[in-house]
Point group: C2
Chain length 439, copies 2
């Protein structure tokens, strides 16, 4: 008998690796934060002596979901301003509220609330783009959730930095600070082609090559953005990024709702990654990302929720569903982007986009023990013909019962073990009270 | 002090009537299955002596949600066949499975499972179209949920009837049986223009006028349907229905994804109702219903889930969200179809479409006490700036804590009081085992 930390026995395991989509009555052996082995329950019981043995007779295990694009702290603005045209929403609601309220405490409280919501709904890693990435990293570590924090860069001054050089230097020192962190990684985050000029973009490309970091950027979010770029630069943003050398396997191009066939081919050939945020794109009427066409061309597409101010949740279970439903309509093909493809977009594809696929994105021996258990024994997911279909098309995020990150059980039968839900809600309400009735 | 059955005190009440979208710290007084009054908590406490006093300090009360189109018993086929082109799905999966398995027991068990899922997610009334409407009515009554059962009509023989005349006569006798039922009403349900010929449609129109019944029909679900009708009849289905006199305030036209501007105006001018099923339309790549344009033209639009085989749930909370998000993209206007409009589509608009608005669809004195409580004190719905926004854009269906139908508490702190969840799930699993491994 081999002594290990944890043995998780489940009705179904969905490894999201080569081989069958799901396997029945198997167990995951976990030790020192890693997956040792996936094997039949009987063999596991005879071979392993575990400190913790978890029996999940009605559950499916999936790899931890990876939210490949969000603005976590904006959870405090959830529902503050809805049903408005994009520019009106940004210029008259979001940006003034950010200028008035965003500070270190706001980012800490907002990121903690977001981390709690994400863990509760099966997300074990998120890629973030916001001010005070150092504080977001702290809040994520306290929550025990993985984060890939964006080193945000803009041309203009904000509360975080005065100019592109200061954004870059603050980002680089944060990257050094976090270089060996077990849970937190970093990613360059130039906000968008229309807010970052050529010089800082060239520097980011150079640093990204030297430091082997990925680059996250909002690209082709709306038709307006593309039209204005053509007016200002005489070229579409993706073309400009390509001429600057940024369209490469390092690029995480977020949104991408406006793509010609040539641009789809360019993305696929370049090895750049597309981060699809279907619910935000729908809510802001930004346009449709051609997910099926991108996948057919061979591009890697991952999934993100965007911020809670434009979604209005951080629930990757629901985001998978929206992605699977919308992709069929956009492709005019009910066979497009099946449930299993969407699960890949939310796990292994996202791990590839963030440069973390050696460690994350699938349930395989040697990878981190980031594991999510979903209880399918609920009215809305019965009967079960195919567990992947029930998870993507029918499950509620509250059916996530347990979550392990690096082998640590951060959700235990639906209860957070690293965060206090009542305290988080109370702080969120205090922020709301201040925001709606400023002194 | 006036003695009454129930007094429900809530943080927010969303009446979906004239006046403010929500009111704070009010109570609903319920007696003999009806709403007596909505008044401030203090006044209620001094004026009413209730057998049951319910305190809901973190909850919003909304009118019971009305699922304006489903095929309830198909819940037993949930996830049996996904990600397939529509015709392949129907001809090679759904229709053969129905021919092999649908009988009285199937419809009873499937409708009971569906009723449980619907009550659990805040639905208090559903409009159904399937075989054995008599059995569906029985199952709904046992569950204590309202149903408007479709008197299905087809040209061709099925297990329910041999020809259009038999469908009609069986439907009419069921209508007579249920004429005075407290929970169950009936609606003519000619399946679609391509499956019902002119003669039965004319008879349905005549009977509907005489009996003051509404008519539910799949109309313009896909572009193929419209193109084939133009080939076969030389006219679009809506035009044919109009020439037969069916485009009237009695018509519930389901799906309507293919509409010209003239057809949108025709629907609005005629007083016909559109039943929008966004998730089914997306999943089957059927096309987009122009909800914003229909509402702008003055048409009444209600919301339905369609069957669980093409959705894959019967969750109206999620359906409201999908409708609100999709309508903005389809209208290319982030301000289109705000959250409150979608809540109307799922309540009062649906009551109007089904001819039940005198009794259902809003929280008002004199109407039936069909009331749903939603607990907003959850991570994913905090903070609350606007309870309507949180319900439509952020809430999980599991945040529905309590449901009253005709004053009876059919969901009590998340637990069904009229149905046994374990038993329903066990029966669903027995059906699945038979269906995947027929003897």
């Amino acid at each position: 008998m081999e002594n290990i930390d944890t043995l998780i026995k489940a009705r179904w395991i969905i490894p999201v690796a080569d081989g069958p989509h799901h396997i029945n009555h198997q167990a995951v052996a976990v030790h020192n934060g890693r997956i040792l082995e996936i094997l039949p329950v009987d063999a596991a019981t005879t071979h392993y002596q575990a400190k913790a043995v978890i029996e999940l007779p009605n559950h499916a295990l999936i790899p931890g979901l990876i939210n490949a694009h969000t603005h976590a702290a904006m959870s405090l603005f959830r529902g503050m301003a809805d049903d408005m045209p994009l520019n009106d929403w940004l210029q008259n609601k979001v940006w003034p509220a950010e200028a008035r309220w965003v500070n270190e405490q706001f980012v800490h409280d907002g990121t903690a609330l977001a981390a709690a919501e994400m863990i509760r709904s099966g997300t074990t890693c998120f890629a973030d783009m916001y001010y005070y990435p150092d504080i977001a990293a702290k809040a994520a570590k306290q929550a025990g959730i993985r984060a890939c924090v964006g080193l945000i860069v803009l041309d203009f001054p904000t509360i975080w930095a005065a100019d592109a050089n200061e954004y870059l230097s603050k980002g680089l020192s944060l990257r050094d600070e976090l270089a060996n962190d077990a849970l937190i990684s970093t990613i360059f985050a130039p906000h968008a082609p229309y807010t970052v000029s050529d010089e800082p973009l060239k520097k980011i490309r150079m640093y990204a090559d030297e430091l082997d970091l990925q680059i996250m950027c909002h690209v082709h979010e709306t038709a307006d953005e593309v039209a204005q770029a053509v007016n200002n630069h005489g070229k579409r943003p993706l073309q400009r990024l390509n001429e600057l050398g940024l369209v490469s396997p390092a690029l995480n191009a977020v949104h991408m709702t406006q793509l010609s066939d040539e641009e789809i081919q360019l993305v696929a050939d370049s090895g750049a990654h597309v981060i699809h945020c279907p619910e935000s794109n729908l809510k802001l009427a930004s346009g449709y990302c051609p997910v099926h066409a991108l996948l057919q061309a061979g591009a890697n597409v991952a999934l993100g929720t965007d911020g809670a101010a434009s979604n209005n949740d951080l629930n990757m279970i629901g985001e998978m569903r929206s992605a699977a439903l919308l992709a069929k309509s956009v492709a005019n093909n009910a066979g497009a982007v099946p449930a299993y493809e969407v699960l890949k977009m939310a796990t292994i594809n996202a791990a590839k986009a963030l440069g973390l696929a050696d460690n994350l994105g699938s349930l395989q021996a040697g990878k981190a023990a980031d594991i999510v258990a979903i209880d399918l024994n609920a009215l809305k997911t019965q009967p079960v013909y195919d567990p992947v279909s029930q998870i993507v098309y029918s499950a509620d995020s509250t059916q996530v019962s347990d979550v392990w990150i690096a082998g640590k059980r951060v959700l235990h039968n639906g209860v957070l073990t690293t965060l206090n839900t009542d305290d988080l809600i109370q702080r969120a309400q205090q922020w709301r009270d201040k925001i709606i009735q400023p002194e």
